[in-house]
């Protein structure tokens, strides 16, 4: 798989604040890459650096395996912070300017306006738009003429629930078309729902990165019950991954050292003659994981 973005020990300091601290990660083609972190963790600073808006103090990055420059930026569609357009120009005219800069024709403008539901208002001035519409125009502008990668910085910030749902559906839809996406968010469920890979940032440092699926799949406990709790407890304690257990009313809470599949666990107990009356997996959510990581570091 080809590398879209590669960042090597990037650092940026604003006075006393280390906004980005020795950050490295790679985004490969086809990934939906989440940059997750609380506000002020360096997400926007990182995105601003890789889009040549601000200069890094240390480190380097490459786009599409080559040195960054205006030509690589033309292949990127991005929505950074608030939507920035000329207030006195119509949506259509604003997108014409974007197409001009990217050396693209105007043929694709109608498509992205329809896709974001702004086609009927294409000739209205940008300043007459509601916030949700402005945000959607920013997405339309980013999608113009099929970018190789899409950068979204808090795309649902400040939107109402309906707007959030629309934007998320749109992003998932785009991702399904195979466009690489880099999404910065402080919302865990957003990253959980949309992303395939994630890097967790805190105070400019990368705490953790990997596949979202793997992060979510870490099951740290199961709740079990059967007709005879004592036999169950004995049987489970000989499981090779067994760590500890505790009786919790009728339910037996069992902790394992690593990943255990519920089906495998069920058949393991069944082989020992135990029929479970209850089996539930207690997934450690990204949120819990995230909070744990933050606690470890501070």
């Amino acid at each position: 798989m080809s590398t879209i973005l590669s960042i090597h020990s990037l650092s940026k300091r604003y006075g006393k604040i280390q906004a980005v601290d020795d950050l490295s990660f790679e985004v490969l083609k086809g990934q939906v890459f989440g940059l997750l972190g609380p506000n002020g963790s360096g997400k926007t600073t990182t995105l601003s650096i890789i889009l040549d808006l601000i200069h890094q103090d240390k480190g380097s990055f490459t786009w599409f395996d080559s040195l960054p420059g205006k030509e690589s930026r033309k292949r990127i569609g991005s929505v950074i912070e608030s939507p920035n357009f000329f207030p006195y120009l119509s949506a259509y005219k604003n997108l014409q300017i974007v197409a001009d800069i990217k050396d693209k024709t105007y043929d694709d403008i109608d498509r992205v306006l329809k896709l974001t539901g702004l086609y009927d208002r294409r000739n209205s001035k940008f300043k007459t738009y509601s916030f949700g519409m402005k945000q959607r125009l920013a997405i339309a502008s980013a999608l113009l003429s099929d970018p190789d990668v899409l950068i979204l910085d808090e795309p649902t910030n400040g939107l109402d629930p309906q707007g959030i749902a629309q934007v998320r559906d749109l992003v998932i839809n785009i991702a399904n078309h195979g466009i690489t996406i880099i999404l910065a968010s402080h919302l865990l469920d957003e990253v959980q729902k949309i992303c395939t890979h994630v890097a967790v940032l805190h105070k400019g440092k990368k705490l953790f990165s990997g596949e979202v699926k793997k992060v979510l799949a870490i099951s740290d406990s199961f709740e079990l019950s059967s007709a005879n709790p004592e036999i169950l407890q004995k049987a489970i304690s000989i499981h090779p991954m067994f760590q500890s257990s505790s009786q919790n009313g009728l339910l037996l809470q069992v902790y394992f050292k690593g990943m255990v599949e519920p089906g495998e666990l069920n058949s393991f107990l069944f082989q020992q003659g135990i029929v479970l009356t209850h089996l539930s997996e207690r997934k450690r959510s990204l949120e819990q994981h995230f909070l744990e990581l933050l606690e470890d570091k501070s």
Binding site: S48, L51, D52, L53, I54, H55, G69, K70, E71, R73, K74, I76, S78, I80, S82, N84, F85, F86, P87, Y88, L89, K93, Q96, I97, V98, D100, I101, K102, D103, S141
Partner: protein, 276 residues
């Protein structure tokens, strides 16, 4: 370059404030030029009341003086401040709307962005110069008729001089707008400097009892607007002891050009180094 111009024209074409200010500029410019003779003669009448031998009325619209007179009136700092404001608004708007960030993100280089603004300045200066040249020609012909081509060649140095005046004056505005990145602030500082601070500085430096050199000639705004230094009005020579300017000199053109080149260099250096 054509692409940058196309983008820039799109930004301006439906921008009402630009057209209102641009229209006002030409309205006041035309009023000033057409009323200049009347106003000067009012002053002459005032003076004549206290003089035993009255001065004759001035006539400023005759060939070849009309070239020098019109370029002089059009390059007065109070007049040039108008297009300078327009340029500062166009540039600082990009910071206010954050569209400069968006342009860079979308794949424009910072050098291209600066070039696109310099193009607009160049076109605005050229357009104003052309209007002034055509205006001077029409006014001149209507007052003294058109007899030979020599009256045109006499005008060319003044017209070129005016072009350099307005171009360099607008580049100063460009410089300040990119340095301060704020509409109100850059207009206020520019107005304050060019209308008040520099004239005071100029008078101070020019005073022969203080400085025995010609450093005042290098003050940026003064250098830009003094290419046509005085109007061609003989009575001024008698009243104020001014020498009549025979022609536009190369030095007077080179000083503001050099100033602007340095300022463009600074803008380029700062803009590429500084974060957006």
């Amino acid at each position: 370059m054509i692409k940058l111009l196309r983008i820039e024209i799109k930004k301006i074409l439906t921008y009402k404030i630009f057209w209102i200010l641009f229209g006002l500029y030409f309205f006041f410019l035309a009023c000033g030029i057409l009323m200049a003779e009347f106003m000067i003669n009012n002053i002459v009448d005032d003076m004549n009341r206290h003089l035993p031998i009255p001065f004759p009325h001035v006539a400023i619209y005759y060939f070849p003086d009309v070239w020098q007179n019109l370029t002089f009136f059009a390059s007065i700092r109070f007049v040039l401040i108008f297009p300078a404001m327009i340029i500062m608004i166009l540039i600082t708007n990009e910071y206010t709307f954050k569209t400069i960030r968006q342009n860079i993100i979308n794949g424009m280089s910072k050098a291209e962005f600066l070039a696109s603004k310099l193009q607009i300045i160049f076109i605005m200066a050229l357009f104003t110069t052309l209007v002034l040249a055509i205006g001077a020609l029409i006014i001149g012909i209507s007052h003294s008729g058109f007899d030979n081509m020599a009256i045109l060649s006499k005008g060319i140095p003044f017209i070129v001089g005016f072009f350099i005046s307005i171009l360099t004056f607008l580049i100063y505005a460009f410089f300040l707008a990119f340095m301060l990145r704020n509409t109100g602030l850059s207009i206020a500082v520019f107005t304050l400097y060019s209308l008040i601070i520099e004239p005071i500085l100029f008078t101070f430096l020019k005073s022969p009892y203080i400085f025995k050199n010609k450093i005042f000639e290098y003050l940026p705004v003064n250098a830009a607007i003094s290419i046509t230094e005085y109007p061609a009005i003989p009575v001024l020579k008698k009243v104020m002891g001014l020498e009549l300017q025979p022609n536009v000199t190369l030095t007077s053109c080179l000083i503001p050009i050099l100033n602007s080149a340095i300022l463009i260099g600074i803008v380029y250096w700062v803009t590429t180094k500084k974060d957006l």
